[in-house]
């Protein structure tokens, strides 16, 4: 401990220097504020109530006391102990990230190994989506909880909405990436099929001379692969999931935007929606009343005609 204190670049020396300088600054500030008229020092407050100047001077005085206490060997030892646990937390966090990345890398390696396997015509048996699923799983297990930590204080609700937006954005990104990967599959498969067909034709000496023929072959294959993909349950589920995730992200984003708009003299979207609903219901009521009025009038005139 002694050695550490003597170390001019050690955490304890830095802390001592910083608290000492803060202490000096607070003392100066405290004296300056005490010199202002209206503080307790000059007895300017007739009612005996503490004014803002007095409160500020008291705050500086308190800080000076705290800073002095912090420089005691006991406090410093406690602080040092606290800072020593920080690397431990970081190490845990880093370990979790590394484990996740390692798992992801392994899965991606497996996925990469399956590239170039023979392509079955218009089949989507090998929709290797584990890479995306594993990322989503890791995100949900390891990272999502950071965005769900309950917030404290005056701005807690705003902060929670910002965190929710970041969380929903990440989830949407995962689903969106998976959706795009599915959409890219027909291109991969059509290209592989084309290569195979061209090789077959070349072997038979039946290669077309017109480039249009190649294009037509490719577009037909592509269309076929898309049509097959679009009917698979995997595609339908991913589409529904992506749309759902997009809706949730949009809702979370709108909530944050509404918070931001509160500071401006403009109506929020939810307020406009409420207004529109009121107008809509009012119009319906008026229309109904008009119809009833017309019917009553015609009944009355029919009655008068009878009499």
């Amino acid at each position: 401990m002694e050695g550490k204190i003597n170390d001019p670049f050690g955490i304890e020396s830095l802390m001592m220097t910083w608290t000492a300088s803060m202490n000096d600054a607070m003392e100066v500030m405290s004296k300056t504020w005490s010199a202002f008229p209206g503080t307790a020092g000059d007895g300017g407050n007739d009612a005996g109530e503490s004014g803002p100047m007095e409160a500020m001077a008291a705050a500086f005085k308190n800080w000076q006391t705290i800073a002095s206490a912090m420089t005691t060997p006991e406090s410093m030892a406690s602080f040092i102990k606290g800072t020593e646990t920080l690397p431990e937390i970081c190490a845990h966090f880093a370990q979790a990230v590394m484990d996740s990345l390692s798992e992801l890398q392994q899965k991606m390696g497996k996925s990469a190994a399956s590239f170039g396997e023979s392509v079955d015509s218009y089949k989507f048996k090998h929709m290797d989506e584990s890479g995306f699923h594993i990322w989503t799983d890791i995100y949900k297990k390891e990272f999502q909880k950071f965005f769900q930590i309950p917030q404290l204080g005056l701005t807690r609700e705003y902060q929670e909405r910002i965190n929710a937006m970041a969380d929903k954005f990440n989830l949407f990104q995962a689903d969106h990436a998976e959706f795009l990967r599915l959409l890219s599959l027909p291109f991969q498969q059509a290209a592989a099929m084309m290569q195979k067909d061209i090789a077959d034709m070349a072997e038979k000496g039946e290669l077309p001379e017109d480039s249009q023929v190649y294009y037509q072959m490719w577009i037909k294959m592509l269309e076929g692969h898309f049509m097959t993909l679009f009917q698979t349950p995997e595609y339908v589920q991913t589409l529904a999931k992506t749309l759902g995730a997009l809706s949730e992200f949009s809702r979370a984003k709108n909530a944050v935007l509404e918070d931001m708009l509160q500071g401006f003299p403009v109506a929020k979207e939810s307020e406009m929606d409420e207004l529109a609903r009121d107008l809509y219901e009012l119009k319906k009521r008026v229309t109904k009343l008009e119809r009833e009025n017309r019917e009553l009038k015609s009944l009355v005139s029919a009655d008068q005609g009878c009499c």
Binding site: S211, I219, V236, L243, S247
Partner: protein
């Protein structure tokens, strides 16, 4: 190792020729694109005779005295715009109807705004549609009018005819989904899994751009690649470019879809298939298809990827009318209205069918009997004229249960 016989020299020579052609085409294309292009849609003159909120009623100027006692109201879908029926002079269903002497009205649903997000089936059918029908009835001093619906507008027309049979003389449905329990169309597969509540609660209306993206994704190879490759190959042809741009203008002119209508259409129709089972309720009233006692003619496209034949061809079996007819055309969803071949057959067929039923008695039952008696010989006549117009494009698949 096999030595492939690749005609590299020929391929290279063709490619060089292709590049030369492309350069010439690009030069001509720049002249075409920089020239004045005629790409305006909906040029047939009309006047707006009724307006309520964003909804307008167009009345087309007659080209000759109307030979019909009953005016025709066309109800288009809320998706895309009714300008599709009047793409350009010479390629216009509207023109064809006017040439036939039909007194023609068409609903323009306008562009729904966020404030319209709460409007559902009830507002469109019991509200706007009913007001428009009453307006026309009053203007023409008639009890009933003819109603023609297109796609989703056809579904609306079916609902309307079931709710107000006393106001509709004849019903024409074209590419109209009524049976949603099919996996032949991708929309039918996809929509079953969509969480429509999440979408509507978040966005309010369904954006036209999102809908268009969805439609493009139904066949990306053709609609996002091949279509534009085709355009690049013909962009030196002014007529082709003008037609292509007209279609582009129409396709991407998509109003947003009111949120509640979208919610109801997906949940009640696509997910629960209530319409064909007469279980749907609109504004608290049950849409009972058995109440559709007026004559019904039902057109659909054999190669329609949006509304497949299986989604359309059950309607005539479920309505209460005895005078019904199914007509399957050898075309897709839009081809019915824009292909020259189909136009030659489609509009005249409707005109003839309406003419045959124009002076019929007013009540549903009597009308059905009348249709039953006269449908046979009259249909033969119509079939003959159709065969002459487009033998391969139309497959009349008449289902007249009275015969």
């Amino acid at each position: 190792m096999n030595q492939f016989k690749v005609p590299v020299d020929l391929l290279m020579s063709n490619m060089a020729q292709g590049v030369r052609k492309a350069r010439t085409r690009a030069r001509k294309a720049s002249e075409v694109l920089l020239d004045t292009l005629e790409t305006a849609l909906s040029q047939t003159p009309y006047e707006v005779v009724y307006q309520e909120d964003r909804v307008k009623l167009k009345h087309y100027m007659a080209r000759k005295p109307s030979g019909y006692k009953t005016p025709l109201l066309v109800v288009y879908a809320l998706i895309n715009r009714e300008t599709m029926l009047d793409l350009q002079p010479g390629r216009s269903v509207v023109e064809r109807f006017l040439d036939e002497g039909i007194d023609l009205y068409m609903i323009d649903w306008g562009y729904p705004k966020r404030k319209d997000r709460f409007q559902g089936f009830d507002d469109h059918i019991n509200g706007y549609m009913n007001n428009v029908v009453d307006f026309i009835r009053e203007k023409h001093k008639v009890d009933k009018i003819n109603l023609m619906g297109i796609c989703m507008g056809g579904s609306f027309s079916v609902m309307y005819s079931a709710l107000y049979p006393e106001k509709i003389k004849n019903l024409v449905t074209t590419v109209t989904p009524t049976n949603f329990n099919t996996d032949k169309g991708l929309l039918h597969i996809w929509m079953k899994s969509v969480d429509v509540d999440a979408v509507v609660d978040t966005y309010g209306n369904l954006s036209g751009d999102i809908m268009n993206l969805g439609f493009l994704l139904l066949n990306p190879a053709r609609l996002m690649i091949d279509k534009y490759v085709g355009f690049a190959e013909h962009m030196d042809n002014k007529n082709f470019v003008e037609n292509f741009i007209r279609m582009e203008k129409w396709i991407f002119d998509s109003p947003d879809l009111p949120g509640e209508v979208f919610r109801e259409f997906i949940k009640e129709c696509y997910q629960q298939n209530k319409l064909i089972q007469s279980r749907l309720e609109v504004g608290g009233k049950r849409v009972d298809l058995k109440k559709i006692t007026m004559p019904v003619i039902n057109f659909y496209g054999k190669f329609d990827h949006l509304v497949p034949p299986e989604a359309c061809d059950q309607l005539t079996r479920h309505v209460g009318s005895r005078d019904t007819e199914d007509v399957c055309l050898n075309t897709g969803h839009i081809g019915i209205y824009v292909s020259s071949k189909c136009q030659d057959a489609f509009a005249p067929k409707i005109a003839t069918w309406l003419k045959e039923r124009d002076g019929g008695p007013a009540t549903g039952d009597t009308q059905a009997k009348s249709g039953r008696k006269s449908a046979g010989p009259k249909f033969k006549k119509a079939k003959k004229s159709l065969a002459a117009a487009a033998p391969s494009d139309m497959e009349p698949n008449r289902r007249n249960r009275a015969v």
